[in-house]
């Protein structure tokens, strides 16, 4: 093709070579705005954070005195590593719960519900996004609290004699609210994958002698792996940075690692907060690399 065009216009053979070299660059320019936005808003601010994390706050002033104290403080404190591990455990448990709830839900939705109704059900799943996150979490205070709906129902049914505090202002309430908040992310990610799955394969596997559970494990799960991993990313990683839900429904027991970070920023201890935030970010980056290894992007693209 190139030769024909080149020959047709009498262009020397060297020019198409140069054209081929220039082409990728000219094709890149549509991405320039996004690259600029990402570079300035994400990498730029990240660079500030990195620099601040190695400086010191003295009497609310940021002093350019390079040191590792902020990082050392995190790892030598009796508090922060423990709270970080607790956060990871909470994020893992919530992620597993969201997957456990979202997988059968989306499976049923895709396989047994008419397409028209699927859209309506999916709409119901994302309806909570139309209200503010803060409002939704505050609403849970009214549900789980000592004078909340659950206690009122249990009292009226005679199941308890006095309001229980088992569901409020502790790790349980944080867990419940986080599952509620992040379930839609898991459901949407899984739905997107399951929607493209050919359920005839399950029938074929069973025709060839596989038990239903074997068909699910060996046929379905490997093929929806990108959706599962995406759901994990969408749920697990934001929870590591959560601080509002623990503040509002967690009381003093339900704190996560985002809470001390926000306390540092609120109190003007920016360098300390930056270091802690970067430790969390570094961990998230490592996790993403691990996820990426297991996520074959070309699978997702090829199906699209």
């Amino acid at each position: 093709m190139t030769h024909a065009m080149a020959g047709g216009h009498g262009v020397p053979p060297a020019e198409p070579e140069a054209g081929r070299q220039r082409r990728p660059l000219t094709r890149l320019w549509p991405a320039l705005p996004a690259v600029l936005v990402l570079g300035v808003l994400f990498l730029g601010s990240m660079a500030f954070m990195v620099v601040f994390s190695f400086w010191r706050t003295v009497d609310l002033d940021i002093v350019a005195d390079w040191n590792l104290d902020n990082y050392v403080k995190f790892f030598t404190s009796p508090t922060y590593p423990g709270t970080f591990v607790k956060t990871l455990v909470m994020a893992a448990v919530v992620t597993v719960t969201c997957l456990a709830l979202a997988l059968p839900f989306t499976y049923f939705l895709v396989r047994y519900v008419a397409r028209r109704w699927q859209r309506i059900v999916l709409l119901a799943v994302i309806v909570p996004f139309w209200t503010s996150y803060l409002l939704r979490v505050y609403a849970w205070q009214a549900i789980l609290g000592e004078r909340g709906v659950i206690n009122q129902v249990l009292l009226s049914l005679g199941i308890i004699d006095e309001p229980t505090r088992l569901l409020s202002y502790n790790n349980v309430s944080v867990y419940i609210v986080l599952v509620y908040v992040y379930f839609p992310f898991a459901a949407l990610a899984l739905y997107a994958t399951l929607e493209r799955f050919d359920f005839g394969q399950l029938k074929a596997a069973q025709d060839l002698g596989a038990r239903p559970d074997q068909a699910l494990r060996h046929i379905l799960l490997p093929q929806i792996r990108p959706g599962i991993i995406t759901a994990c990313i969408f749920v697990f990683i934001p929870i590591i940075g959560e601080f509002l839900t623990p503040i509002i429904v967690g009381g003093t027991q339900g704190v996560l690692i985002g809470n001390p970070v926000i306390n540092f920023f609120r109190a003007g201890q920016i360098t300390q907060g930056a270091a802690f935030a970067l430790i969390i970010a570094a961990f998230v980056t490592v996790l993403l690399i691990v996820f990426r290894r297991h996520l074959q992007v070309e699978d997702v693209v090829a199906r699209g």
Binding site: R27, W29, P30, A31, L32, P33, A34, L36, V37, T57, V58, D59, L60, K73, S77, P78, T79, Y80, G82, T83, K86, T87, G145, E146, R147, R165, Y169, N171, I247, I248, G250, G251, T252, Q253, G254, V255, L256, I257, N259, P260, N263, F264, F265, R266, A267, G268, Q269, I270, Q272
Partner: protein
């Protein structure tokens, strides 16, 4: 697909999208932001009880100026924000000794508040607080004040408490609420252990205050984000003890809660008194004085007191309150004694903020 191919190639589509994005980024967003910002506007960061919606609407109607308000959580946060964004903010509220700190760092302007006609309605003492006075002018327009009190429900709390110690009593496990201010709670405990300056404690004092916080933690149901959280938790009986401003008991009663009692701890307490500060180099500074002139009128201040119930510095508003049958309430909340504000341990920045926050986190960030 055919239509796509015929009229708009993928390449053209990408180019058009990129062009649109670039145009938006370079020119569109500032234009949009100008469209959203009303012609008479400025950026204000303040506490939610410094205004009420009807007041803002009425002032906007009268002056054509409507502030874009962002909520202030604490003094350190406000100070840090102004340092970060400078003149992108135009007006910010701050407490007592934080105000001169802003000025020392050239973050706010000193000005003659008497340029405003409405300043004549302030108590004279409020125009002369030495820590807000500089040769260049006054550092802020005085707003309100209050000592931090301890409120309790006498139906559950006995004997009658008189000390910070009641907050640490194990029999009130998960029945206490304090506001989520990492630099303030160590100061409260500093008062309890008798620290000379609760905002600048020695290592030994801070260690004692930290021990006190360990005792406090199991008693706290949750840390309140705003005073409204405290009011609702006291009103619905979730908590029996809470720190709060003057007037919290009235607000609890109005919210359908029990009749509370209050006391000033015998070890002394912390107090706040705040002012509206004009940020140096604010892009909309021309709108601030006309807005303050209208928004700080005694009628609005009187209504603000009725709504939020802690003393303000506007003397003419006190007279309105007296004329309208609110004298008993106003006097009970020390509205007519602004000189008391000058006797409190005032909130302010301290060299030991980092250590105090570290201590707070050590206790309250442990899961």
């Amino acid at each position: 697909m055919r239509l796509f191919d015929r009229h708009l190639t993928r390449r053209r589509f990408l180019q058009a999208s990129a062009g649109t994005a670039a145009a938006l980024a370079l020119g569109g967003l500032p234009t949009a932001s100008r469209l959203f910002a009303q012609s008479g506007s400025f950026n204000m960061m303040t506490w939610s009880d410094h205004f009420y919606p009807e007041q803002l609407d009425a002032v906007a109607k009268a002056t054509g100026i409507m502030p874009q308000i962002s909520e202030l959580a604490g003094n350190a946060e406000g100070y840090t924000r102004v340092r970060e964004v400078g003149g992108q903010l135009d007006l910010i509220s701050g407490d007592a000794l934080w105000v001169p700190r802003y000025y020392e760092d050239s973050l706010i302007e000193a000005w003659d508040i008497n340029e405003l006609e409405v300043a004549k309605t302030l108590y004279p003492i409020a125009r002369e607080f030495p820590w807000w006075t500089t040769p260049e002018g006054y550092l802020g327009y005085p707003f309100g004040w209050s000592p931090v009190q301890i409120y309790y429900d006498p139906a559950y709390v006995s004997p009658e408490p008189d000390s910070w110690e009641v907050l640490l009593d194990p029999k009130y496990a998960q029945r206490v609420m304090v506001e989520n201010q990492p630099e303030e709670i160590p100061a409260y405990m500093g008062k309890y252990i008798g620290a000379a300056d609760p905002y600048n404690m020695t290592e030994d004092e801070l260690a004692q205050a930290t021990d006190a916080m360990y005792l406090l933690k199991p008693n706290i149901l949750r840390l309140a984000q705003q005073n409204t959280d405290t009011v609702s938790a006291l009103a619905n009986g979730e908590v029996w003890l809470a720190t709060g401003n003057l007037g919290t008991d009235e607000r609890v009663l109005e919210a359908g809660g029990p009749e509370l009692k209050l006391f000033t701890p015998k070890e002394g307490t912390i107090g706040w008194m705040d002012a509206e500060m004009i940020v140096a180099g604010g892009a909309n500074s021309a709108n601030i004085r006309p807005w303050l002139e209208a928004a700080e009128q005694p009628e609005y201040m009187a209504q603000n007191f009725i709504l939020y119930g802690r003393p303000l510095f506007n003397e003419a508003a006190y007279k309105i309150l007296v004329d309208n049958g609110h004298q008993e309430r106003a006097d009970r909340f020390l509205y007519n004694q602004p000189e008391v504000a000058a006797t409190m341990t005032l909130k302010g920045p301290s060299p030991s903020t980092a250590a105090a926050v570290e201590a707070f986190n050590e206790v309250f960030a442990a899961g």
